[in-house]
Amino acid sequence: MSNGLEILAQTVVSGNLILIQGLGLYALTRYTKNVKEAVEAGISVVTSMLVGSVLLWLCGSIIPSSPVPQLGFYLLAALAAAVLAPRILKQDPSAEKMAVDSALVGLLLLLGRDGVTGVQNVWIALGAGVGYLLVLVVMATIRKRLELAPIPKPLQGLPILLITAGLLAAALMGFRF
């Protein structure tokens, strides 16, 4: 992953946080009732991702190298990002709950696992955030159509939403090989 386009393609399409990595399903099921809500929730998580990645970039030289303290460091960075992001967006502090999303922590842990360093952290987080927001908006629009579709009763609501997301994800997997 060296140039910008490559990073964008990797993070939005072939490594999409929600559809390919399976992170952030809480947002996918709870915040996609309409497009406006999806965008709001998406933006607060994306902000926390950016804050987290900037923290990793700034603290690059003090990240411990042995696995256990390193894990602690990444988790604490995620906690700091989740606390800071609502304050940057001037949301009310209870929005922390929204920002503590598995997508945020998962992204930071993935960055740690892949040994990403320096400013690349921020670019990858930006790409991943775009991918995350895109999926929420797409699912919100699909959900609107699902409401009108004749769906058998046991499948209504969440089951059909998960199956739809799964089919969307399976389609995205086609870009991986």
Binding site: Q21, G22, A82, E96, V100, Q156, G166, L167
Partner: protein, 195 residues
């Protein structure tokens, strides 16, 4: 005993309340993975409940989420350190989803602060075992479909080609959706979210 049974079946966190979906979809590629993560989650959750109950009087309401998260992070790092020494292969197969227990939305959003210690522990145990049960069931289905085996023992010997989609995240979402539909059918509930 009622909270225990509620957590296991009627209010199963994954299949009915739709919480903790990330591990349910991403980690349950094999039955063993599902069971291991489920039980680790129960252990961490019980410990977190005890600590946060003890700390509750000293924590202002606005900082509750952050403090709860901090407690979970400390516990997860401890468990990670122990497991890394005892069973590195399990750590490798759970990958980033072991540390992700710290932000499992089931654990973060289950704060009913006004309960007493005993009731809270019983509730936590019920929900936790329900979570582990759901992960185990999903893991068994996906391992059987994806690899033709159960707990690592080969059952289908090459006659049926395994459905490799079942061992990926998209397959996990579809299978979870179908299992939820079956639960709805059995319990005769609609498919809407019960919050």
């Amino acid at each position: 005993m009622k909270p225990l049974w509620d957590g296991l079946f009627r209010k199963n966190p994954v299949l009915v309340l739709a919480l903790g979906l990330v591990p349910a979809v991403a980690v349950t590629t094999t039955a063993m993975n599902g069971l291991a993560l489920g039980l680790l989650t129960v252990a961490i959750w019980l410990a977190a409940t005890i600590v946060s109950k003890a700390a509750a009087p000293y924590v202002p309401a606005t900082a509750r989420t952050a403090v709860r998260l901090l407690i979970l992070i400390v516990l997860v790092v401890c468990v990670y350190a122990v497991l890394l020494r005892r069973n590195p292969s399990l750590v490798a197969s759970l990958g980033i989803f072991l540390p992700l227990i710290a932000v499992n939305d089931l654990l973060l959003r289950a704060g009913r602060e006004e309960q007493g210690m005993k009731e809270a522990l019983l509730n936590t145990l019920g929900q936790g075992l329900g979570f582990a049960l759901a992960l185990l069931v999903l893991g068994m289905i996906r391992e059987f479909l994806g690899y033709g085996s159960l707990f690592g023992t080969q059952i289908l010997s090459g006659r049926l080609a395994p459905l490799s989609l079942a061992s990926t995240v998209p397959g996990g979402m579809i299978i979870l959706g179908l299992v939820m539909a079956v639960v709805n059918l059995v319990s005769k509930q609609g498919g809407e979210l019960h919050e």
